[in-house]
């Protein structure tokens, strides 16, 4: 804290350019997630980053700061959704069961009102994914919902999508990706096909290593294998759709063989293999639904999963899998895990910092601490109370959702024209083939 006050002092002397305007959010109860709750807090934001957070009595308000009075309000970090299908970007097609070449990047429409919907639900960072109808349906993209700009590039959390790893890799096992050729017909075949591809990637990786600095010896570029090498090198995270206990163990077996740690998504029966998940260090991103079933794999889905996994030492996130859960209702999903015994602080962690870490973004988003992105949500009350309203959502110090704006309110509540022209977006496992 002290160093930040020194930093602020420096800024005051140097003068502040308009873009570097200091904003102060004063009087709210702030849940930083990274530390204890701060009642009557002062949150200082500059240049899109949090620069200070502390109790009102001991936190200096820089001269010239724009002050937002938020007494009686509650502030939480912007929510991070590890699993969403907003914008209906599509993914792999029916030509192959494993397609690491396709990128969500190339299908995202930042003008989609679906993203405003997510902001109205307090979501500021998402992992936009392709579906589970493939063993590997393509490269996912991590997006900051900045609500400005015209291109997906304006929303990335990486610098250059041609060079950087800007998302993860979607994989799946179990029933959704089983089908007729070229899709596998059994679970064993599913695993064998995935292993075969990873073996190819290992060979490809060996050739690259063997070439060393001699570019003439490099293998021909292969878009898919390049992405898989990023997984083998630990630079691209595998987001693994898996429901049944044995399918989850199969995912862990595959990951162990090839030396990576997947994030298990949905994990309907994850609580039945909690010890194995803990031993593998694999986190779980749960999709919390109002009733079990809808398919055989989800018969045993339980709200208690969050609590049981945390007790076993497994990192837990809660996702929307929008449209399975409407993005406006992510806090509600987390609240249902509280209903089933999870500590409220743990439930808040599960929609903020825990999912941020699952995307490899834990040092940038997911909590309110100096140096992190100023992404936060202003609530009218307790995060998990039914009557609490999401009043505003801020991304990098800019208000990008305001419940008092009629256009935003329409999306938050629904109504005529709110989602006009939005077709039926991805339905996990039921489309894209």
């Amino acid at each position: 804290m002290k160093s930040w006050q020194v930093f602020l002092g420096f800024l005051a002397v140097a003068g502040v350019a308009p873009a570097q305007e200091v904003q102060v959010f004063r009087g709210a109860t702030v849940h930083p997630v990274a530390g204890p709750v701060v009642p009557n807090a002062t949150l200082v934001v500059q240049g899109g980053k949090v620069v200070a957070l502390g109790p009102a009595e001991s936190t200096v308000i820089p001269a010239g700061a724009v002050v937002h009075e938020l007494a009686g309000r509650v502030i939480i970090p912007g929510l991070v959704d590890t699993h969403t299908h907003l914008s209906g970007a599509g993914g792999a097609d029916a030509s192959t069961a494993l397609d690491p070449t396709v990128r969500q990047l190339d299908g995202v429409d930042v003008r989609s009102p679906q993203f405003v919907k997510a902001l109205s639900g307090g979501i500021t960072t998402v992992n936009q994914m392709s579906g589970s109808g493939h063993l590997m349906s393509g490269q996912t993209i991590y997006l900051k919902l900045r609500r400005t700009g015209t291109r997906v590039e304006d929303w990335l959390l990486c610098a250059d999508p041609a060079k950087d790893v800007c998302g993860g890799m979607k994989m799946a096992n179990g029933t959704n990706s089983i089908g007729t050729s070229p899709f596998p017909g059994t679970r064993s075949k599913s695993a064998a096909m995935a292993r075969e591809l990873f073996v190819k990637a290992q060979e490809y990786q060996k050739k690259i290593k063997a070439a060393g600095k001699d570019t003439s010896k490099l293998p021909d570029r292969d878009l898919g294998l390049e992405a898989l090498v990023e997984i083998l090198e630990g630079r691209r995270i595998v987001h693994f759709h898996s429901h049944r206990h044995d399918d989850i163990l199969t995912a862990l077996r595959l990951a162990k063989e090839f030396g990576f740690t997947p994030v298990i998504h949905h994990g309907s029966e994850s609580y039945r293999v909690a010890a194995e998940l803990a031993a593998a260090g694999a986190p779980v991103s749960l999709t919390v639904v109002d009733s079990p079933g809808g398919k055989e794999e989800a018969l045993l889905v339980r709200w208690e999963a969050g609590k049981l996994l945390r007790e076993a030492g497994v990192a837990v996130a809660v996702n929307t899998d929008d449209w399975i859960t409407d993005s406006r209702l992510l806090l509600r999903s987390a609240a249902l895990t509280v209903r089933a015994g999870l500590d409220p602080a743990e439930a808040l962690l599960a929609v903020t910092l825990a999912p941020a870490r699952m995307l490899g973004l834990g040092d940038r988003v997911g909590s309110l601490e100096p140096g992190k992105d100023a992404d936060f949500v202003v609530l009218s009350g307790d995060p998990f109370a039914v009557r609490t309203q999401i009043l505003a959502t801020w991304v990098e110090g800019k208000k990008v959702f305001d419940r008092d704006e009629p256009e935003d309110r329409l999306v938050a509540e629904g109504g005529y024209g709110a989602f006009e022209g939005i077709g039926e977006v991805h339905l996990d496992g039921e489309t894209e083939r």
Binding site: S291, G293, W323, R339, F384, A385, V386, R387, I422, V425
Partner: protein
Amino acid sequence: MNRCLLSALLLWATAAGAETVAVRGDLVYPGDGPAISDGVVMIENGKIVRVGPATEVVIPAGVRVYSGAVVTPGLIDAHSTLGTSGILNSSVPDGGTAHDQDQLETSGPIQPELRAIDAFNARDGLVDWARSLGVTTTHTGHGPGALVSGQTVIVKLRGDSIEEALFDPARPTEMIAMTFGASVMRNFRSPGSRPKALALVRSELLKARTYAEKRKNTDPEKRPTRDLKQEVLADLLDKKIRALVTAQTAVDILAAIRLAQEFGYEWVLDGASDAHLLLAEIKAAGVPVLLHPPMTRAVGDLENASFTTAAKLAAAGIPFALQSGFEAYVPKSRIVLFEAAMMVAHGLPTERALQAITADAARILKIDERVGTLAPGKDADLVVFDGDPFEYTSHVCTVLIDGVAVREECR
């Protein structure tokens, strides 16, 4: 059949508590009036005998007492597909090995002869799930997706068979389920348009009108030969049963109103996603609404769905109740308790939201003589919560049907 159903029901009633039971809550919501602080509901032989504050209704010694923070009437899901659209979501025509999807038959767009009682599976996992979250009565059966998809029935979530579950043995057919909208065009080659859909239904109802007239003939020789389809439609025209008309878009809602006026049958408007655009028209039609679950997906015919519609219907004075509706995937069933909570989150007062899943639902379904409120003489269907029923983090802890605890674990 009715006698068989009746005897099954008597068996249940005998099994159902000949004993005296008390339910006590810090707050007791009777369902149609203000909450009673520290209230007591006394139950004998499955019926409520007294309701009032603990100071007036004294619990005799030795009586089994269920208690908690809040007590409400058993919840009524005014339109579901519980028991007909099962938890596995598997359908043989769609390539499944198991078959538990009986809410929609796609061999023809108009099949009023399909009875819900021939498909209802009282042991389906979703029936138990809904019961564990406070639902004690539901109006279920055929779902949306056909012009006339079949019949509906009102059941209590009790027993292991339709015979034990049936709300009233004299009412094996409650309503005829009709749908206007895009889902019908998706499921059938014809109708391929809204006007064609209406033309098909009108033609069928005209035939039924003739059938209805002919069957009134005093000379049995001059009555028509039995036709299961015409019989049911004639019952509709003779106002022996009502129509449940699912219509989401403004165009479809207006068509539904037009059709009902032409043929003069009684009906309820189901779904009604665009109701907020047609408050005056719906009110003028005098039709009650079984509103879509607020958490429905706002796509297709429901793209204008709003969380605030319930509050608008209430303000307009249109009678409405809440439904869990039909879900094709995950979650396989919505839960009216949670859906009502969403109406509370968007401006509907708590007591009014509770009414939409208790007293008002009972009135619209015409079962309010027995259920929907806590009053002497009513069926002892109650739910005990450990907090505000609509809070996400409260729990349903005890569910009683006909005075028998069917659930005693907090969820």
